[in-house]
Symmetry: C2
Subunit: 503 residues, 2 copies
């Protein structure tokens, strides 16, 4: 029953629904841009995306939204309406705190920085990119000041992607990871390089790769009636407005099995999360994932804890071998399992293994914090990058393209984003351990290609809630603890200790 | 140079650009809905499309737009800005004249009528659809009253699709067509049915059909860097915001060559028009085609005057035969030319040949005029349909599914739309004759698969102008005459007179 005092809430919901619709349209246009749009559409599409973004922003920061938020009766704490009002306030506050000119300047600066970064990386030419980064970092510092923070400007930026997290907490997390990872990586690095990943290279028909990947994620529970898989240059998962349309993408390499296979499992992890959100949350701020870190926990869980496990390959390797009898003929299951888990420091983050991956993130986190603090100047950044690469990964950078210029994030205006990758890794193990505690049969089921118990636990404890709970609340509810590195460290230590016979 | 008095014009252009962006987004979402969207996206997509439609409407009818139109200095007559202001006023006036409740009621009524029509057609059950049509026609009469007209309510509806046209002019056009067509069709109908179209049936690999179609429209000048071809149930051309992204679609039947081949040529005709509009008109009301009739003239021109001509097949038939040596082995070029031009009254409009097609339209035009006039009641419509089918096509309707229920238009809320198909037919010949007068080598060039002169004339005289001129102005400028049935009648008489050896 709708009472008079429910009226502002209903009007607010209507406005938020329109914002969701426009944002979903924007996501669909961006998906199309990356999949099927012809070259000639580039300019027009950029205008369309900008127009939709602007309209969604205008509706959010309008006087009408402000009035509704002001007169709204506080919904019952813990209720869905409570969560909705809380998120609406959070989104509204952050949108109005940023002056329109600053947002425009940041958009313009990053639109210029991205092609400059592409050219700089191609030529391994730091000097032409440096002024762009100088400007972007200044704008990011301004952004942080406008958004506000308690302890550190970096907190304001991090909170955009990981609500509630802080620089101090991320630092603490990395301290705990470093203690185990750095010595382990040094120890493995000292072993002779056996080239374990060799079986992943050869001649692998792309259509067959795709068919195999589709089979696996169908078993995971990815619903093709509410999604699809297409080819792109940079894979991503595209939720196009609620759990009814959640698409994934992949990139194929006929000479190398890893990129497509693990991208499909990774993006399917994101998609399982989105497909599992309560349908009635659609067209509201409650839809979608609660943070980048929690989202990443699901891509990592299905890619790594499932897709690089011995149980998984005990079931799927015979099928893969049947699919590719020629290139895999000589490879036994254990050798293949070791191939997909080779740990070896390399310069490129996106190609890093589970063990070294977090050190790539740590390095970026420390550098972006120092840049925001102005404790590090842009001109000193390349040397600092190389020094940390040496310290954490025992590697000497070959050139800036492989070093400080390798990622698009900073050029794209993303500062405070990198840590969510490691938060995701940590949470993936924490969620997996909690699921396995509730259903000890999960590993054995995985060995039969049966993911029902695992998916069921994730749906019940994580997916269905969408953005209803903040990450801290969700993690605590689902696992009984706040974010905790111990399950992840246990997982890495046991897995790689065995794989490399470490003492 | 921008003077102070240019300011309202620039502000108006900015608003119109946003409306164009949002409409282009809507078109892209609709393209996706019909091509790649998974089943699960249906509900969400409907909401997104409705939201974009609503936002574009709100920006158009806003106080700000009204003020700008009021204070605008009249641009120099004949200039692009003059045309832009004229169109903006036209679009604004028509949008504000319709009460929001009427628009909403019409949208709702047609959303309900379409599934009802689908069910009714499947069961050939007129009675369940009749109340929907009753209501829709009442709403259409109201719409006409709000839009306003000089002579006849039908004029107001027709003007939505064909600016400047009237019921009286369409009636006159059909009178002229009927004089030739009705006796010709009777004469052909009296000849023994030779089943001329038989060569079009057989086993035609779909991928090869597509490849052949792609080759032909590449020769036409369709630019793949600004378009693409995808598969759908009901083919359409999708301009997604300016000439940079104009996609086409087709439906394939492996047992029948016609549907895909002629749909590709037809939709490519629409696309050539859109790809040829002056690029600087993008993001303004000047972009796109000037009317449904002129648009249809281009799809018909490339499909029929080119794609069903003897010159065309003299060049392409050997290639088609090479593509399909098995089913076409026994068929000589002349037999094939006669196959794609078989004229024979049939009940279904979308399968009709060039000669009988216009009588299908005439029948619908007369009936919808009578319904708007309330000169014909909904309950008498099926009998009136059948009587006209008998009169014009010598056919006795088998059932309502093949008769009065065959088209979706009325259920979709389109009244006044049908005549634009025949206007398109008439104009196709008028434009083609003018082009051939300017470049007498066009038919001979077509026989070498060279369409440069034809496309060049169309671009220079029709396409580049977009919506700058109203249809009457454009036709007069391009051909030296107002809309004129004579070229079309000459074309039909000569082509079918020869094909059927008529006296």
């Amino acid at each position: 029953m709708t009472t008079t005092s429910d009226r502002p809430l209903q009007l607010l919901k209507d406005r938020l629904a329109t914002i969701s619709d426009v944002s979903a349209a924007e996501a669909a246009l961006d998906w199309d841009r990356q999949t099927y749009m012809p070259e000639g559409g580039v300019e027009g599409r950029a205008e369309q995306l900008a127009a939709l973004r602007r309209l969604a922003h205008e509706i959010l920061v309008s006087k009408e939204t402000r009035s509704l938020l002001e007169v709204l009766d506080e919904p019952e704490p813990g209720s869905e309406d409570f969560a909705l009002a809380r998120l609406a306030r959070r989104d509204f506050e952050r949108a109005v705190r940023l002056p329109a000119e600053l947002v425009a300047e940041l958009t313009r600066a990053s639109a210029l920085a991205q092609p400059a970064w592409e050219r700089a990386r191609a030529a391994s030419d730091w000097a032409t990119f440096a002024p762009h980064l100088e400007k972007l970092m200044r704008l990011q510092r301004e952004t942080a000041e406008h958004l506000g923070y308690e302890d550190h400007p970096y907190d304001a930026l991090l909170d955009l992607y990981e609500p509630g997290s802080t620089k101090a907490r991320v630092q603490q997390m990395f301290e705990e990871l470093k203690t185990l990872l750095v010595p382990m990586i040094h120890e493995i690095g000292a072993l002779p390089n056996e080239g374990r990943s060799r079986p992943l290279y050869g001649e692998f028909d792309e259509a067959k790769q795709e068919e195999f990947g589709r089979g696996v994620i169908s078993d995971f529970g990815y619903d093709w009636g509410r999604g699809r898989l297409d080819r792109v240059v940079h894979p991503f998962c595209a939720p196009l407005g609620g759990p009814g349309d959640v698409r994934i993408t992949a990139r194929f390499d006929r000479g190398w099995l890893s990129p497509a296979l693990f991208a499909i499992l990774h993006e399917a992890g994101h998609a399982l999360y989105e497909q599992g959100v309560t349908p009635s949350y659609s067209r509201s701020p409650l839809s979608g994932g609660t943070s980048m870190g929690v989202h990443e926990s699901q891509s990592r869980l299905w890619e790594n804890l499932v897709g690089r496990s011995r149980a998984f390959w005990s079931f799927y390797y015979p099928r893969l071998k049947e699919t590719f009898p020629e290139p895999l003929g000589e490879t036994d299951p254990e050798t293949f399992y070791r191939a997909v888990n080779e740990a070896r420091p390399s310069e490129i983050r996106v190609e890093a293994d589970e063990l070294t991956y977090n050190l790539h993130i740590l390095l970026r986190f420390e550098l972006e914090v120092a840049l925001i603090e102005e404790d590090l100047s842009i001109s000193d950044l390349p040397a600092a990058w190389d020094a940390k690469t040496e310290e954490y990964l025992d590697l000497t950078a070959e050139n800036h393209a492989q070093g400080v210029l390798q990622d698009v994030h900073w050029a794209a205006g993303l500062v405070g984003y990198f840590p969510t990758y490691s938060i995701g890794n940590v949470l993936s193990a924490q969620f997996f351990e909690a699921a396995t505690k509730a259903h000890p049969e999960i590993p054995e089921m995985m060995g039969r290609g049966d993911f029902e118990a695992l998916l069921g636990w994730m749906r019940a404890n994580v997916y269905r809630h969408g953005r209803r709970y903040y990450p801290d609340e969700l993690v605590e509810m689902a696992t009984g603890h706040p974010l905790d590195t111990k399950p992840y460290l246990r997982y890495l230590k046991s897995k790689f200790g065995e794989l490399y016979e470490l003492t």
